[in-house]
């Protein structure tokens, strides 16, 4: 049996981290797109559309991401859809992130004063134009901090894909543990790598938030 050196352990974990990063990007960007759609549904004038978005969000925020992963992975296959692990992982993470991002952004849109809607309406703008030119540019500013903050949750969420067999950082951790019998070292390193990915995002989210509050006070 070939021995793992500490460098082997670290190298393998770092290689697997690429997947963690890729998965995070996919679910964050995909989740952002779907979340945008949800946002529009959620603030739509049609009650039925609002209800759809509301129930979607309640469902995805009210059940464990782990279960969503299981169902995407083992469930969709039953309907004849071939779902490889990366697809199930990406899909579940996207749908899950979307629920949270949609809700975060709705809060930001609703934080924009009603007068902005009314003023733009009275200038003859349609709903999409109001969103595009008046509301979103303002909402985006306040959305940055919580959105960056949520990206940390996404990165941590990708750890769960290990359970459906996707070999990202966490799964690599368990596999390497089993090949080395050094759980303390391996999980310690895994935790450190996650920390190195997440902490800068957490910090910048906090800093952005503070900046924005200061900006508000100066008005």
């Amino acid at each position: 049996m070939i021995e793992f050196t500490i460098w082997d352990i670290l190298r393998n974990l770092l290689l697997a981290t690429r997947w963690t990063i890729l998965l995070s990007l996919v679910s964050f960007l995909g989740g952002g797109l779907v979340g945008l759609v949800l946002l529009f549904l959620r603030i739509s004038k049609r009650k039925s559309l609002r209800a759809v978005a509301k129930y979607y969000i309640e469902l995805f925020q009210g059940t464990p991401l782990l279960m969503q992963l299981f169902i995407a992975f083992f469930g969709l296959g039953l309907f004849g859809i071939d779902v490889p692990a990366w697809l199930a992982a990406g899909l579940a993470l996207i749908l899950w992130s979307a629920a949270f991002l949609g809700e975060i952004w709705r809060g930001c849109v609703e934080a924009i004063a009603k007068g902005q809607w009314e003023a733009s309406a009275s200038l003859g703008m349609g709903r999409l134009q109001q969103m595009r030119y008046v509301i979103l540019p303002q909402a985006m500013r306040i959305a940055v901090a919580p959105t960056v903050g949520f990206s940390v949750q996404v990165i941590k969420g990708t750890a769960l894909t290990s359970i459906i067999g996707f070999v990202e950082l966490s799964k690599a951790g368990t596999v390497v543990t089993n090949a080395t019998f050094q759980p303390f070292t391996v999980y310690g390193l895994v935790a450190l790598i996650y920390f190195a990915l997440c902490w800068p995002l957490s910090k910048s989210s906090q800093i952005l938030e503070r900046k924005l509050n200061v900006a508000h006070r100066n008005h």
Partner: protein
């Protein structure tokens, strides 16, 4: 039909373990290696297609097949009536003796003596099903998601003993672990079969043919020698 799909695709998707030495584990480059991997390669080669190895755990091997994520499960898969209800099996291709393993100071020569003890097992494996049947009611059975969990639990002392295959225990032993799994007693002889979806006679027949040929031409024996350290037993 599965065989047609495989040839059309030019690739066969095979579920293999990566947490279950010597059938499947990873080297320092994280690539899967082991008995089952060699077996998968052999079959692909004989079918004249490329192989796509899909790492699975004991618990999700069968759902992988059920949900058509793989064409074959070559993952030290034992046969029992429950499994036969949902998937089909080829001929056996490897020996597998389930047993209870523990460090030297653990005393239990037969199932009854497991009373009050804590045994780790991988959920959904044959060992799990068998142990659940034969162990006394007050045996504490801890069922882990995959073999990584079971082995980690044993090595970190979270369970006193594990139920697994004899060669598995031997492979762990070979790596000089902090806790040495020694055989206490055997539970069951449950050789490994290749699993495939129900009602795929063409594929079944084809794979059975390959296994039979490999047995006669000695290539299967070579794989056994390489990973188990002995040749194939006579009963196979």
């Amino acid at each position: 039909d599965a065989l047609g799909d495989i040839t059309a695709r030019g690739t066969i998707r095979v579920a293999v373990p990566q947490d279950f030495p010597p059938f499947g584990s990873v080297g320092p480059d994280m690539a899967p290696v082991g008995y089952d991997i060699d077996m998968a390669n052999l079959i692909a080669e004989k079918l004249g297609v490329k192989v796509e190895l899909v790492p699975v755990t004991s618990a999700n091997r069968i759902p992988y097949l059920q949900t058509n994520k793989v064409d074959l499960v070559i993952s030290s898969l034992g046969k029992n009536p429950d499994r036969e209800k949902v998937i089909d099996f080829t001929a056996a291709y490897a020996p597998f003796y389930n047993g209870v393993f523990a460090p030297a100071d653990f005393v239990a020569a037969k199932p009854e003596e497991l009373a009050g003890k804590t045994i780790g097992v991988t959920r959904g494996a044959v060992e799990d099903l068998e142990l659940t049947k034969i162990a006394p009611a007050d045996t504490v059975i801890k069922r882990y998601e995959d073999n990584n969990g079971t082995i980690s639990a044993f090595l970190s002392g979270q369970v006193e003993a594990v139920a697994t295959g004899n060669v598995v225990a031997a492979a762990i032993l070979a790596k000089n672990p902090p806790k040495r799994p020694e055989l206490k007693f055997l539970i069951k002889n449950s050789p490994c079969y290749i699993g495939l979806s129900k009602e795929q006679p063409a594929l079944l027949e084809k794979v059975n043919g390959i296994i039979a040929a490999a047995k006669t031409d000695g290539s299967l024996n070579a794989i056994a020698q390489k990973w188990l350290g002995t040749g194939l037993p006579a009963e196979l």
